[in-house]
Symmetry: D2
Subunit: 136 residues, 4 copies
Amino acid sequence: MDMMKGAMSASDMPKGMDMSMLEECLEALSACMQACVMCADADAGEGMGRCAAMCSNCADMCGTMMRMMLRMNGWDMALMMSMMESTMAMCRACSAECMMHAEMSEHCRMCAMACDQAAMALEKMLGSMREMAPAM
Amino acid sequence: MDMMKGAMSASDMPKGMDMSMLEECLEALSACMQACVMCADADAGEGMGRCAAMCSNCADMCGTMMRMMLRMNGWDMALMMSMMESTMAMCRACSAECMMHAEMSEHCRMCAMACDQAAMALEKMLGSMREMAPAM
Amino acid sequence: MDMMKGAMSASDMPKGMDMSMLEECLEALSACMQACVMCADADAGEGMGRCAAMCSNCADMCGTMMRMMLRMNGWDMALMMSMMESTMAMCRACSAECMMHAEMSEHCRMCAMACDQAAMALEKMLGSMREMAPAM
Amino acid sequence: MDMMKGAMSASDMPKGMDMSMLEECLEALSACMQACVMCADADAGEGMGRCAAMCSNCADMCGTMMRMMLRMNGWDMALMMSMMESTMAMCRACSAECMMHAEMSEHCRMCAMACDQAAMALEKMLGSMREMAPAM
């Protein structure tokens, strides 16, 4: 991710945005997407249809969220915050679903952890964005 | 899409969900995603960075929304409604951006129409879902 | 898809490319992606891990292939043909996997049909592209 | 990525597959996808339509390739090798395109490096897979 730092600071970031917070978010979303793809795959082999669907949805949302954050020209505070809220809710629901099988499924335990990390990173960044744009 | 109808009615749809409304949504999201990918591509050649980014974001969100709607095992009313609200806001913002160049860019005019259609289909379905789950 | 036609003919399509063949491909890839997402979801609930993974892979490849075809500025014959070959192989393998469960699973029967359609559309277009660029 | 290691070793990896090589590939594909999304976004603002389209295509292919590698239940040597070849060709073409603007565009220089890394990781893993399955 070191390579990303240069490219991002070279780009027209929203003023006042905390760079390290954004990088933390991207890292957590990327890890969550990967954990969710793996968990959905393992779930399917075990007949855990609900968990597989939640993980697949979470993977798609985290992937989309990450791509949106990387597109500097598309930053719009209200749209980003709305998608961040939706993604955070998805991560929390996916974590809760995975935690129900965490004792018997190692992939669920790991996926829940990755979902929690992503939800926390999004919450932290949302908090910082709300301070910058208090009206939203 | 006729093929889809059979598969979907054969699946465990949320009770009371209007099938034709869901199909209309899927159709509109699919068309919007395609129009947005094409518009972003054409925008890039014309130096329209903001429009390209909005369209790319809208394409990713519509694609993810569509996949979530197709995963019957993952239907959760609150999560779906949150993502539908976010996607609808994105479609409207993308349409507004594209409308600013609609006179000079045919792809923007078409993309704006596709975004409007997707926003309307989502709004209609959200209305119906709110009636089913009035507390949300 | 009528809206697409206008946008596409307005764009810088590769010379000599058969428009209706491209539209047929896009339609088939879109339907295949949707059928595969639904099939993977249903498979997961039935513990069919192999079929779910094949369908998820096929859905992702068809989605990516479709987006690549829609980006007129990115058309490169050799790269497109390579990805079309890979996607065609994936569609055929996914169809073969789904056909093994077609008698007991309606979603597998429909997914196999959608995969076959996508593979045929890709094969037809590949044939036409090879005539245009015989050296590849 | 440390979290991934555990989940992956706990899963039914293809026998004889070098785990560290796979992780290297996943890491490089993830970084390449992110660099390509950023580069496409910046290109669009500068009217570099060809580069934006190549980067968008490369981002989508790397994302799909990564997801396919993470789905242990879907591993099929021939299909994986075909997609790896296609993705490697895309990464090389995207790197070549970006290198043409590397002196004036920092994002292109970084994207070219990320594409080269991904192509190399894929080539290395393809070499190892060919030794395991010499007939392919």
